[in-house]
């Protein structure tokens, strides 16, 4: 075996925090190595906050934020970003919604203006709503309805694992709910959740900190302060009896399964959370992982298998409650019980016998490298800084992740494995209706 490299790398970033009078939290971090900048605004509202009868609304609303604003006609936002040499996007998550631009650094003020203009007020019209409703329905068709394994398991597993509407509903939305959304709904949603005090602005890259803070104040400072909503408690206790459901997929050629567990509060019980993250890596990261060896290489009963935390695979993306998911594709529908049994045995083995010599260290090292890799592109650093500020209240935590992971003990990982008992899981079996 090759020698291990030296200790995990230490990270440090130059981060300046500032809060405007209207409550907008601002994070600025210079990096002058290339003439590019990232700008991101995260609003503290996501799928979890959608009202009943309005599934998918947070995402539909995200689309409306691109349809023109105080000073801009429809299509102008896209054109200004792209004709400046930049790219843009937005995405809706369980607990937040983000909007971002990657730009040459000479477009810094323009980018800040564009974000401020829609934070002031988006142009929500009947025509734009009808158009984006069609676009969103086509997004759902391409990603879910017309595709094998579409939305599996993120849309369907929460309905089995969780009980409250907030935690269990379809985040892409049912067509009926989406079609009944009105301009008034959108205006109310904006008023309630898109207040400056409910957002974090992150600006990273080829910039001067003082000058940037001045520009931020110029463009965002005049946005009126509004009441910010109080986040309800969404917690749900661990399951006490196994749940099983099936999901029919007309296009899938072979079956699949998703197994979900409710796991500790990712913010307040951070140590336990990190142990669970390391456990997912021990279970399925790479050919040396426990479940790859057992189910893919030894038993030959699954095609592929993955364990992860967070609905979209990012363990730092959600507040409580969050889920640990193990999902697999497998060719023979009759092997589901054998797969579940094998997973239980492997978890039990970790809980009882612990890990092999060096196993935790190599997994930790790889995970730390993956965290670093995510931070190289300026735009993903911009988004990560904003996300850690929003979810954890501390941008700086991301730089501490390698040492926080270093501090997780083998015992903590064993305990995490011991907690994932059959009685605590929700199993969603995908029944394959497509031809092979």
């Amino acid at each position: 075996m090759p020698k291990l490299a030296a200790a995990l790398p230490k990270l440090s970033f130059d981060v300046t925090h500032h809060t405007l009078d209207n409550g907008l939290r601002v994070v600025v971090s210079p990096d002058r190595s290339a003439p590019v900048i990232g700008i991101a605004v995260l609003y503290d509202v996501g799928i979890r906050s959608e009202p009943e009868g309005r599934t998918g609304f947070a995402h539909l609303f995200e689309h409306l934020m691109f349809q023109g604003s105080t000073n801009l006609e429809k299509l102008e936002h896209f054109r200004y970003v792209q004709s400046s040499g930049g790219t843009f996007n937005g995405s809706t998550h369980i607990d937040y919604t983000n909007y971002f631009e990657s730009l040459p650094s000479n477009a810094l003020e323009r980018g800040l203006f564009l974000e401020a203009d829609r934070m002031r007020s988006p142009r929500i019209t009947e025509e734009n709503l009808a158009n984006q409703l069609d676009v969103v329905k086509n997004e759902i068709r391409v990603n879910v309805l017309n595709r094998p394994y579409g939305g599996f398991p993120w849309i369907y597993l929460p309905a089995v694992l969780f009980d409250s509407f907030a935690n269990s509903h379809n985040g892409y939305g049912g067509f009926e709910d989406l079609e009944s959304a009105t301009v008034d709904d959108a205006t109310d949603f904006f008023k309630k959740y898109y207040a400056p005090g409910n957002a974090v602005l992150s600006v990273v890259g080829d910039l001067d900190v003082d000058e940037t803070l001045g520009l931020v104040d110029r463009h965002f400072g005049g946005i009126t302060k509004r009441r910010t909503p109080k986040r309800p408690n969404f917690a749900e206790p661990a399951l006490t009896a196994e749940r099983r459901e099936t999901h029919h997929d007309a296009h899938a050629p072979i079956p699949a399964v998703a197994i979900g567990y409710r796991v500790p509060n990712p913010v307040r019980e951070l140590d336990d959370h990190l142990a669970h993250i390391l456990l997912t890596e021990v279970l399925t990261d790479g050919d040396a992982s426990r479940l790859q060896r057992r189910l893919v290489q030894r038993d030959h009963i699954v095609t592929d298998i993955a364990a992860y935390i967070g609905e979209f695979g990012d363990p730092f993306d959600e507040r409580d409650p969050t889920a640990l998911t193990i999902s697999a594709h497998y060719p023979d529908a009759a092997s589901l019980d054998a797969i579940l049994r094998a997973i239980d045995e492997e978890l039990e083995r970790i809980a009882t016998d612990g890990l092999d010599a060096g196993e935790l260290d190599r997994v930790r090292r790889r995970l730390a490298a993956a965290v670093l890799r995510e931070l190289d592109p300026v735009i993903s650093r911009t988004l990560e800084f904003a996300k850690f500020e929003l979810i954890y209240g501390r941008t700086e935590m991301i730089a501490e992740l390698p040492s926080l992971l270093e501090a997780v003990s083998e015992d903590a990982v064993r305990r995490a494995a011991g907690g994932l008992q059959a009685s605590r899981r929700a199993v969603l079996e995908l029944v394959a209706g497509g031809s092979r």
Binding site: M1, P2, K3, A5, A6, P9, S33, A34, P35, N71, L72, K74, L75, F78, R79, Y80, Q82, G86, T87, L103, P104, S105, N106, A107, L108, R110, F113, N131, D134, V135, K137, R141, V142, N143, L145, N146, D206, H251, P253, G286, D287, A288, S289, Q297, H300, T303, D304, P331, D361, R365, R366, A368, A369, A370, L372, R373, D376, P377, V378, G434
Partner: protein, 437 residues
């Protein structure tokens, strides 16, 4: 006066420190210092064009099996060794190349290169591992072929390229099932060779030191590979729209393609801009029409794919079943407009800035620069191309773009396929022109 702030003076990108050399064995190595995070991105590209009907299947099983054991290490030991370096390594293959993609904590680069060398020279191809990877490949192929877009891509390739190797986008399950460990081993022996291969290292390294490390680690990898005779890419024959039935589809996959120009052609920058104006970025005519005006689709895309034997202009859109024919109509309208009417100066300025800016953004990261350099290397291009391309884009005139559009975007040039619910969409498609089901 617009309220939108003007752009300030652009800042120049820093000059990158780069070094390269070709080893005695014919391996070309490029190392670029790009600090940021303490990692190194690794891309090893080995030319892999093959001509026989069995080649794609054997190549797929080879790629799947390469990391299942090498030298003294079995599969799990090899994976543990890679992970211990904070590294990740994978192997993929397509019609043009076999590609190792990896990344590693910078101080451990030598360790990862040693393991890559071990795989290159002493891959085990144990019969049980190859058998297992064959099964998994067949399962993954069945998943891939259950996707509408994959079906459309395969049918389009077959229609354009006939019996040329490019016609076979994915291997057939039968050919995969028939690939033996010996055949895979022979393919490795004949084709996984350093002459013509390009290794790219980008990250927190000193270029000279990284070259030395790589040359040392890969010193035992030698021998000349077999060079198969590959037929020229034929001109796609004219053909009516092909309708492929996928009953119950709630969307139709529309794919249209035509020959484009390689990056080295003097007219390429103009064609690149013409394509952007048509459908190559969000603010394009096609996206603004089909998505932002009509709502027919989530996202139509038009791009130029540079393959070794030819560059292809490729349009794709997933459109709602009930508006399949109107979507084709609007697409043909926008193509026809590009080909018969001049573009505007405003449009050209917008895509020029976008092309320059997005190239800078995509090569400002370790992964982006490594992948771009690896892709360029297949055409004998390198960092200079990235540095000089903005100047080429600056020189393109509005007339140049209009001319490129007239020459390449005429709707009659395209080969077209629609995969969808034929019972619902075929009749209305037939109203617009000849179709074949």
């Amino acid at each position: 006066m617009s309220v939108v702030p003007a752009l300030t003076k652009p800042r120049r990108a820093r000059k990158l420190s780069v070094d390269e050399r070709t080893t005695d064995s014919g391996l070309h190595i490029v190392a670029v210092r790009k600090p940021g995070v303490p990692l190194v991105e690794v891309r090893l590209r080995i030319p892999f064009l093959g001509s026989g009907a069995t080649h794609p299947a054997r190549a797929a099983v080879l790629a799947d099996s390469l990391l299942t054991g090498a030298g003294p290490h079995d599969r799990a030991e090899l994976a543990s060794a890679i992970q211990s370096l904070g590294a990740d390594l994978s192997v993929g293959v397509d019609a043009d190349r076999l590609l190792f993609t990896g990344n590693v904590l910078a101080p451990a680069l030598g360790g990862l290169l040693d393991l890559v060398a071990l795989v290159l020279t002493e891959a085990t191809f144990a019969p049980d591992e190859v058998a297992r990877e064959r099964e998994r490949e067949i399962e993954r192929l069945s998943i891939a072929r259950s996707r509408s877009g994959v079906i459309a891509g395969e049918r389009l390739a077959a229609r354009m390229w006939g019996d040329h190797p490019y016609a076979l986008d994915l291997p057939t399950a039968d050919a995969v099932a028939a690939a033996t460990p010996t055949q895979v081993n022979n393919l490795h022996r004949d084709r996984v060779r350093p002459d013509g291969a390009v290794l790219i290292l980008v990250g927190d390294v000193s270029p000279k030191r990284a070259l030395d490390q790589a040359e040392r680690a890969l010193g035992a990898w030698a021998g000349r590979g077999k060079k198969p005779r590959i037929p020229k890419l034929p001109d796609p024959p004219p053909s009516p729209l092909l309708m492929v039935d996928r009953p119950g589809s709630v969307q139709s996959s529309l794919r249209m393609a035509t020959m484009a120009l390689p990056r080295t052609d003097p007219d390429y920058p103009a064609l690149q801009l013409a394509n952007l104006i048509f459908g190559g970025y969000f603010s394009s005519r096609w996206v603004e029409n089909l998505r932002e005006d009509k709502g027919y689709t989530y996202g139509p895309h038009s791009r130029i794919d540079h393959q070794v034997l030819g560059s292809i202009l490729m349009l794709d859109a997933e459109v709602a079943t009930e508006v399949t024919a109107p979507s084709l109509l609007e697409t043909t309208y926008e193509l026809g407009k590009m080909a018969t009417l001049p573009v505007t100066e405003h449009e050209v300025e917008s895509v020029r800035q976008y092309a320059i800016g997005s190239l800078a953004l995509s090569t400002a990261t370790q992964t982006g620069l490594a992948s771009t350099l690896s892709a360029l290397s297949a055409f004998g291009l390198g960092l200079d191309w990235i540095i000089e391309h903005p100047a080429r884009l600056q020189q393109v005139s509005v007339e140049d773009v209009s001319a490129a559009a007239a020459n390449y975007l005429a709707p009659t040039r395209f080969t077209s396929v629609v995969v969808g619910d034929a019972a619902t969409v075929a009749d209305r498609l037939a109203v617009l022109g000849p179709i074949e089901i």
